[in-house]
Symmetry: C2
Subunit: 319 residues, 2 copies
């Protein structure tokens, strides 16, 4: 089935032998390390059961690409493990799914090189392999006290989209942007590539800013302070629910933006990229010395008062 | 969950950064191509629902390793996507599964570098990445008329084991060997490595000799003739059912032996390896010019009479 619906679906850059043998053969460029990650998306958990095959394919690939972006890696190849219920194991569904996969893969020069299909509840597992110059990858460890904290794009879009996708009555005027953000969250591949040798630490925001910045702090042995009024929140998200917008930006998942830290000596580089429009990012806080206990990430208002955030923890769709 | 039960489960050869960041970072050796393959195993389809977590882990990894063997690749790294029903998502099950995975992975110097767990019917998807010197990989294409056809080990063990696993009343005396063959089919990694630059084509036997040798023929544009009396069949398999043994050897799946072809000028190399006990393999037939129609693989008896094999197609467990 993989061979029938997915062969030659995508560009085949660096592929010496593609789908159809016992394994694909891939040409790694000299001096490159591999970045490798797997993610599974389950119907009713990571996307609603009403999602179209194109939307499911697009979301699965974008979410997985975001992990490559977070490492500063260039995505190269992927395999697909598709579990399909019998009512979807038909040519129409597979053709649409395949088209959705190809549409995103081609944008990122990513080649599908293998996979497997099985019967069962709809689950999409992708394994991506990317390349990054040896030693240049961005990781969660490396943030130091005094570093600035940045995020790309806007925050809270994912949670607002979830609100919109979950509640059909709650229709914002410009819902198309949010729907698009849900099914095709734009992986920050270019930002990740530019931040290599500039950022001291990086993560993609899949579980919410507080949780993911917390991962950077834990891996780096530091703490962070976030200034609430500096958080980039899109106007439509603010309008959708002014009361919820801040919580969405801090705790909402599925934004798939990058959160990264920058040491003082690299700050002019980042500011230059932002000023020239080569990087869409906002400074939102500072890395501090860890107190060794309590929250690793604090949020303050413009008067430097500590905000108490009741982090409900991120709920994926349907949970 | 991956981090909790699976970190440091395995040796971490070539791993610059393992489980715990957005992606693993892997060091590819200079001059190597990658071999990459994914396979999913579903409970009740690829293993019985009574299988223990250790048996499931072992079988999943062995089956996937067999794809690396077929390419002549050295297995290096893998990710795990584990879908678990709620009644198995407990410490006991995961600890046993993890131990089974580690037991096999360590034998092959294979590092677990990432993955994901989701909730649902028990499914194990592994993605393996191996290394093979650039241009040296074994593929299905490359067999030429006049080449000899070989298989490693013995044939029909997989089907006999399936018979045994499926029917508790049908207990052969030495069932332990067959049970072991079912849950830990030994991937022919060393054989694959030795056959690089010797074999003209290679495949692992997962769907049965006739089907898989047929894949070689199709990819190479040739036909094959197999001599029934040359098929290596283990004594216990012969005893289990003398009537079925030949069909098991020809059509049974899950043997995970290698089927490979050898040109005349490389024949002495292979015979030398076999004589010195460095390769356990048997010559079972010849590659011929394809007639362009009909069966690609014929089977003859010792009087050169064509046998009519009713290939039922390989049925996985429970189908």
């Amino acid at each position: 089935m993989i061979a029938r619906y997915f062969t030659d679906l995508t560009g085949q850059s660096g592929v010496a032998l593609g789908i159809g043998d016992d394994a694909a053969l891939l040409n790694v460029r000299p001096g490159q390390q591999l970045a490798m990650a797997s993610d599974s998306l389950v119907s009713g958990v990571h996307f609603p059961e009403t999602a179209t095959p194109r939307q499911i394919a697009s979301r699965a690939l974008c979410v997985n690409l975001s992990d490559m972006a977070a490492m500063g890696a260039e995505p190269r190849w992927f395999t697909l493990a598709l579990t399909l219920p019998r009512d979807k194991a038909n040519s129409e569904w597979l053709t649409e799914f395949s088209a959705g996969l190809g549409f995103i893969a081609d944008q990122y020069n990513l080649a599908l090189v293998g996979g497997d299909t099985t019967s069962g509840p709809l689950t999409v597992t992708l394994t991506l392999v990317g390349e990054v110059a040896a030693g240049a990858a961005l990781t969660r460890a490396g943030a130091s006290p005094g570093d600035s904290v940045f995020v790309t794009g806007t925050l809270g879009d994912g949670a607002a989209a979830l609100e919109f996708v979950s509640n059909i009555n709650n229709t914002p005027d410009n819902s198309d942007r949010l729907l698009h953000r849900f099914y095709s969250p734009q992986p920050q591949i270019q930002a990740g590539l530019k931040l290599r040798s500039i950022a001291s630490a990086c993560i993609d925001i899949s579980d919410g800013l507080l949780a993911d910045l917390g991962h950077i702090c834990k891996a780096s042995g530091v703490a962070a302070v976030v200034q609430a009024e500096q958080l980039p929140i899109a106007e439509d998200v603010q309008q959708l629910s002014p009361l919820d917008a801040l919580e969405w930006a801090l705790c909402g998942g599925d934004d798939y933006q990058l959160c990264f830290t920058v040491a003082a000596d690299q700050l002019p580089m980042v500011e230059g990229l932002i000023e020239r429009g080569e990087l869409h990012a906002s400074r939102i806080g500072t890395i501090e010395v860890s107190a060794g206990s309590g929250n690793l990430v604090s949020v303050i208002d413009k008067n430097n008062n500590l905000l108490t955030i009741e982090n409900p923890g991120y709920n994926h769709f349907g949970h």
